[in-house]
Amino acid sequence: MTAELNLQKIQGDSALRGLGPLLRRENRKWWRGRRWLVQVLIWVLLLDGLLAFALYILPQMAAAKDAAMTAQDALGTGRQMFFGLGTIALAIGAMVLLQDAIIEEKNSGTAEWVLSKPVSRTAFVLAKLLANGLGMAVTMLLIPGAIGYALFRSSDVSTITLAQFLTSWGIVALNLLFYITLTLLLGVLLNARPPLLGITLGSLFGGTLVPIAAIVQFTPWKLGELVLLPVMGMPLPPIAITMLVSTAVWSILFIIIAIWRFNRQEF
């Protein structure tokens, strides 16, 4: 046998032990195959495609039918599609992509196998969060966002500044983070996909129907209404701070609870 002496052993029992190989495996799922390309195509076609349609094709179609549609109207429709639809569609995308991330590993037995190695359970959850977070940030936010900003800037009537765009896109990103962390937490807590999708979709669509402002202000449920204000040149209302901070706090709490719970689960 080859002597083990020649190999450099990983020492210590830190809370992040095993994060490196786990991250490499998760990143590989995103970047080594076609997954990243498929995601980029989906989101560019959906968000930027609809934005381009609203900015450049819709006015021509309206003109062909002798309907009145100004460039400002087209810009408004484009904003609504890009940011409004983006808020909802990206959250659904996160749910679809992450629904299996932990449940599948628990049910198939790969989690049991991996956790029999010197791996901390905290590292297992963090690897899912970090790699998927990066993958989604690049394919769902960065690339479609950059193309979207370029499309807005190319419009004759658009006065959207970079700061305004980034503020609105930041709200979309925060909403996405909330659903990434919620889906991961539910993946830890549950063993089947239907209840996971039920809860996350229920939050996304049912939350907007909750009429009690005292509750809603501590949730991301009305972020879809806030998201258009910065790109329309309007200031965010004071309650927006509570909503944004609460959403960020919820996301952090979801991760803490997911790690805590995963450390106590049996396989």
Partner: protein, 320 residues
Amino acid sequence: MSNFVIETTDLSKTYGNVTALEGLSLQVPKNAIFGFLGPNGAGKTTTMKLLLGLIRPTSGRGHIFGHDIATENLAIRTRIGYLPQQPTFYNEMTARETLRFAAGFFYSGPKAQIEARIEETLRLVGLEDKADRPVGGFSGGERQRLGIAQAQINYPDLLILDEPAAALDPLGRRDVLNIMERLRAYTTIFYSTHILDDVQQVSDTVAILNHGRLVTQGPIDTLLNGNGRTIFSATLRGDTHNLYQTISRQPWVENITSLPQNGVTRWQIDVAGPEETAAENQLFRLLAQDEQVVVTAYGRKKFELEEVFMQLVEGDNHDR
């Protein structure tokens, strides 16, 4: 420093009202191939998962290499390799990538040495020619071999194998047993199985578990010699009536079981434990001196593991 790699004391695990493991006190000696036997549902997998820290004990304690299984499990897992009952890997990875992934939890470099170790491990389990095929297309036997390969990628001091040959055909089983034999020189192997032939072939120490309780444990030779009982068997031809009376009167005879079969009579003579030497000295002489009887076969009874297993498990079932 203890000579035992695994030591558990009153280790128990319950799920609600169901007791999966009850008061298990086990000692696995260093460099043993320790067969952990029991019917389905006896608690073998539960025990292994407790040792690996995948589940937590309800009560009792356990130590591996002197580390507590409940509080120092990460340190334990740096020195062991584990093959689950149904090995599942990431289907998109090749066998080589799977081993590279597993090695990444133990070694940081040098890369060339890690690759050499992977190559060596692939050779050990006979997967060199399938090394670059995705695991998703592997047969059950190939998966099992890969399972063994990944379990020992880190030169483990202890290999825990859960039913390593259960899903394999006879050739696959033989291969797995050969691999275990080869690894014996480097490591302690603690494995569960219900294939008793395999245990008899490779194990030196065994424990039998039934309904979550330990029925017996010890060296396999002791178990096959009757686990403290001394039994002689004799095959006789002729009229055995008088001889039966003579032998029965001996103070060291506990019981004689007589079974007529195809013109001969087979006797099984149970000897009282402390009188083993007296029986050895006198029994054959007594049998041979009876002129009405011809002794066609005689010897100390060697048990088959299956026989011992069935006796112990059924005995335990009756005691419940």
